[in-house]
C-alpha cells in the first residue's frame, strides 16, 4: 500500500486538512485523476482494503482513512456525542472530502460504511459520482415485515461478548491511555496490531451500527449506486440486498459467488472484477 501523507498536504489548500488527515489517518495513493475513496466497516480499519485498493491505483487517486477510534486514527478525538449516530461518521467522510476538496468521488463502503457513505451523499451529493456498497444493510434488527437478520438481544449479546474480549487489557490499559493523553507510546502500542480499536469507541460503534435504521433515508439517495451482495453473508443476508435494490433509486445489485461478510479480504479478485464492471456501467 503506497501512502504519502506529505503529498496529501501539498495537494490541499484547506487549512483544516492537516487536522483532518491526522484525526482520520487519511492516506493517499495512486496516480489517476478521478478519486476513489475506501471506507472500512465495523471491526477493522483501512488495512482491510490492501488486497483490493492497489488494483485501482493506476486509474484513480485512492483515498483511505480510519474512523476515529479505529486503526491509527487519533483515538483521543473520539466524541461520544458526535459519534452517537452514523451521521457523525458521515461527517468524518464529508470533512475529508471538504478538507482535500475532493469531488465526483467513487465511494466504496464496506458493511456499515455503505450506509455512512449514503448519508454523506444525501448531505452533499455533488461530492460523489457513485457509491459502491459491499455487504450493506440499512437495518440489522428484524422489524415487522422486514428481516434484518438479528434480534435486539443478539446485539446486546455482541456488546457483552466484545466487552469480554477486551476486558483483559481494556480494564487496565485503556484507562491509562485515556488519562495520559501525552503518553502517545501507549496508544501506539495498542494501535500497532491490525484492526485495533479503542474498546470505548467499539462499544458505541457497535451500538450505532447495529441499532441504526436507515431505511427511511434510502429514497433520498440521488447518486447512482451499486450493491455487491455476498452469498451466505450472515451479517447482511440476501433478502436485505433485495430490499435495498427495491428501496433505493438508481441502484444495481450484483450477487457475488464470494461467501461471508468480507469478500474484499477473502475473494479480492472477484471483488475487483465486479467493481470494475460497475464502474464501466453508465451511471
Amino acid at each position: 500500500m503506497i501512502s504519502s501523507p506529505r503529498a496529501a498536504v501539498q495537494l490541499s489548500a484547506h487549512p483544516d486538512a492537516e487536522q483532518v488527515r491526522v484525526r482520520n489517518n487519511v492516506r493517499f495513493s495512486g496516480r489517476g485523476e478521478r478519486v476513489m475513496m475506501f471506507a472500512h466497516g465495523f471491526g477493522c480499519d483501512q488495512s482491510m482494503w490492501r488486497l483490493v485498493a492497489p488494483a485501482f491505483e493506476a486509474d484513480y487517486r485512492v483515498v483511505m482513512f480510519d474512523y476515529v477510534g479505529c486503526g491509527k486514527s487519533d483515538w483521543l478525538a473520539f466524541d461520544a456525542q458526535r459519534y452517537g449516530s452514523l451521521r457523525g461518521y458521515a461527517q468524518d467522510v464529508l470533512d475529508i472530502l471538504n478538507a482535500f476538496d475532493l469531488r465526483d468521488v467513487v465511494f466504496v463502503g464496506h458493511s456499515v460504511s455503505a450506509m455512512i457513505g449514503m448519508l454523506a451523499s444525501i448531505e452533499e451529493p455533488a461530492r460523489f459520482s457513485r457509491l459502491i456498497h459491499i455487504g450493506p444493510s440499512p437495518c440489522y434488527v428484524n422489524d415487522a415485515g422486514y428481516v434484518g437478520g438479528f434480534e435486539r438481544r443478539d446485539i446486546e449479546g455482541l456488546l457483552d461478548l466484545m466487552e469480554k474480549n477486551y476486558v483483559g487489557w481494556a480494564a487496565f490499559l485503556a484507562p491509562v491511555v485515556m488519562k495520559n493523553p501525552g503518553r502517545a507510546e501507549l496508544t501506539e502500542e495498542l494501535q500497532s496490531s491490525f484492526c485495533a480499536t479503542d474498546p470505548r469507541v467499539t462499544r458505541q460503534f457497535a451500538r450505532v451500527t447495529f441499532f441504526s435504521d436507515n431505511r427511511a433515508d434510502l429514497a433520498k439517495v440521488t447518486v447512482p449506486s451499486h450493491i455487491l451482495q455476498c452469498s451466505d453473508d450472515s451479517i447482511a443476508p440476501e433478502s436485505v440486498g433485495r430490499y435495498l435494490r427495491s428501496a433505493m433509486p438508481r441502484t444495481t445489485l450484483r450477487q457475488m459467488s464470494a461467501t461471508g461478510h468480507c469478500p474484499h479480504m477473502s475473494h479480492p479478485d472477484e471483488t475487483i472484477a465486479l467493481m470494475k464492471e460497475c464502474l464501466q456501467q453508465a451511471p
Binding site: 471491526g43 477493522c44 466487552e163 474480549n165 451466505d232 451479517i235 461467501t259 461478510h261 468480507c262
Partner: protein
C-alpha cells in the same frame, strides 16, 4: 476427509480446519464431544456459523476473520459455541491461517473455559458495579459542591451587603437571620458528610442509654411543625400513653426520626398529611411515619437507603439535599440493633417508613431515675 492424526483427534482441546468460506474441512473427536455431537464426521461440511452463537458469529465475521486475514493469526478470542442441545459452550479460540494447495484455510484450536468464563462474568459484573459506584460518587461530589455553595453565597452576599454603609436595624436583623439560617444548613450538610465518612470507616459510635422513645418523636414533631405549617401540611403524632423503653443514643435517634419526618414533609405537596405513630410491637418499638406525598417508584424503592441515591436526577431536582440522610439513618438504626424499611404503592401514592428498635422490657436504670 483426511484422516486425522490419532493424537490430534483425541487431544484435550477442540481442533478444526476451516476454509475462508467458513466451511469446516476437518474436525477432531474432542470438538464433537464438546458440542455433544455423536462423531466428528458429522461436523465436516457444516458452516462454522452454525456452531457459533449469534453474537459470536457477528464478532467472528466483523473482527476475527478480518484480523486473521491481515495478521495470519488470532489469539485468545472468547467465543461461544452452541452445543447440540442448544447450550452455550464458552471457548477460547486460537487460530492460524495457512495456504493448503489452492486455497487459504485456518487451523482452529478451541479450549473450553466454562469455569474461567463464569469467573470472567463475575469480574465483568463487578467492574460494571464499581463503574456505577464511581459515577455515583462523582455525581455526589458535584452535588456536595453545589449544596455547600448555595448557603455560602447567601452568607457572603449578606455579609458584603451589611458591611457596606450602615444598614438599618430591620435590614441588619434580616441579614443576620439569613446568615445564621444558612450557616446552620451548611453545618448540617457537613455533619451529614462526616457521619457518612464515619459510617464508611466504622467509626460511628453511639452513646447508648436506656430511655423512653416517645419524647424524642414528640420533639422531632415540634421541630418540623413550622415547616409543615408553612406548606399547610397536616402533621400529627400518635403516641401511646405507656412508656416505650429502648436502649438508644438520644441524639442519634432524634437524627433518624427527624430525617424521616422532615423528608415526609419535604416530599408531600401542600394540603397533604403526615402521620408519625409509635407503638410497641412484640419485642420491638416501632415508629411508622407515613405521608400522602409523591411516593417512591417501584424501580427506586430497593435503593432508598443507598448512599448517593436520589430518585430525581441531580440536575432537575426541585428539592435540595445530598441523598445521604436515608443511608445514614439506616446505618444508625442498624447500629442500634434495629431495622428500617420503606414501602410505597408507587409514584403519587405516598410512602411509609418504619423504624424498629429492640424493646427493653424492664429497664434497669430507668426505674431508678426520677
Amino acid at each position: 476427509m483426511k484422516d486425522l492424526d490419532p493424537l490430534l483427534d483425541s487431544a484435550p482441546c477442540g481442533f478444526l480446519v476451516v476454509g475462508d468460506d467458513g466451511c469446516i474441512l476437518l474436525a477432531n473427536t474432542t470438538t464433537a464431544e464438546m458440542l455433544g455431537v455423536a462423531n466428528a464426521v458429522a461436523l465436516v461440511g457444516c458452516h462454522v456459523d452454525v456452531l457459533l452463537s449469534t453474537p459470536s458469529r457477528i464478532f467472528y465475521q466483523t473482527h476475527v476473520f478480518p484480523t486473521l486475514c491481515l495478521q495470519g493469526r488470532v489469539h485468545e478470542v472468547y467465543v461461544a459455541l452452541i452445543g447440540r442441545g442448544g447450550e452455550e459452550v464458552p471457548v477460547l479460540l486460537n487460530a492460524k491461517r495457512r495456504t493448503e494447495g489452492e486455497r487459504d484455510v485456518s487451523d482452529w484450536v478451541l479450549v473450553p473455559m466454562r469455569q474461567r468464563n463464569e469467573l470472567e462474568n463475575e469480574i465483568l459484573k463487578a467492574r460494571q458495579v464499581s463503574e456505577a459506584a464511581s459515577r455515583a460518587k462523582d455525581q455526589f461530589l458535584a452535588l456536595v459542591s453545589h449544596e455547600l455553595r448555595s448557603p455560602l453565597s447567601v452568607i457572603l452576599n449578606w455579609a458584603t451587603l451589611l458591611s457596606r454603609g450602615e444598614p438599618d436595624v430591620s435590614t441588619l436583623k434580616r441579614g443576620l437571620d439569613a446568615i445564621e439560617r444558612n450557616a446552620r444548613v451548611q453545618s448540617r450538610l457537613v455533619d451529614d458528610i462526616l457521619d457518612e465518612v464515619r459510617t464508611q470507616t466504622g467509626k460511628l459510635r453511639l452513646e447508648l442509654v436506656e430511655l423512653d422513645a416517645r419524647p424524642i418523636l414528640s420533639t422531632v414533631l415540634e421541630g418540623v411543625a413550622p415547616a409543615a405549617r408553612a406548606k399547610t401540611i397536616d402533621l400529627a403524632g400518635d403516641l401511646p400513653s405507656e412508656k416505650l423503653f429502648v436502649r438508644a443514643d438520644p441524639d442519634r435517634l432524634h437524627q433518624v426520626l427527624w430525617n424521616i419526618v422532615q423528608n415526609a414533609v419535604k416530599f408531600t405537596p401542600p394540603g397533604g398529611r403526615v402521620r408519625a405513630a409509635m407503638r410497641s410491637s412484640d419485642a420491638w418499638v416501632e415508629a411508622a411515619i407515613s405521608d400522602t406525598g409523591r411516593g417512591i417508584s417501584p424501580q427506586f424503592l430497593p435503593y432508598v437507603f443507598e448512599r448517593f441515591r436520589q430518585e430525581q436526577a441531580p440536575l432537575d431536582r426541585a428539592e435540595s439535599g445530598l441523598g445521604l440522610g436515608m443511608a445514614i439513618s439506616r446505618a444508625l438504626v442498624e447500629l442500634h440493633g434495629g431495622s428500617i424499611s420503606a414501602s410505597s404503592s408507587g409514584l403519587g401514592q405516598g410512602s411509609t417508613f418504619i423504624v424498629r428498635l429492640p424493646a427493653l422490657q424492664r429497664p434497669a436504670t430507668m426505674a431508678a431515675s426520677p
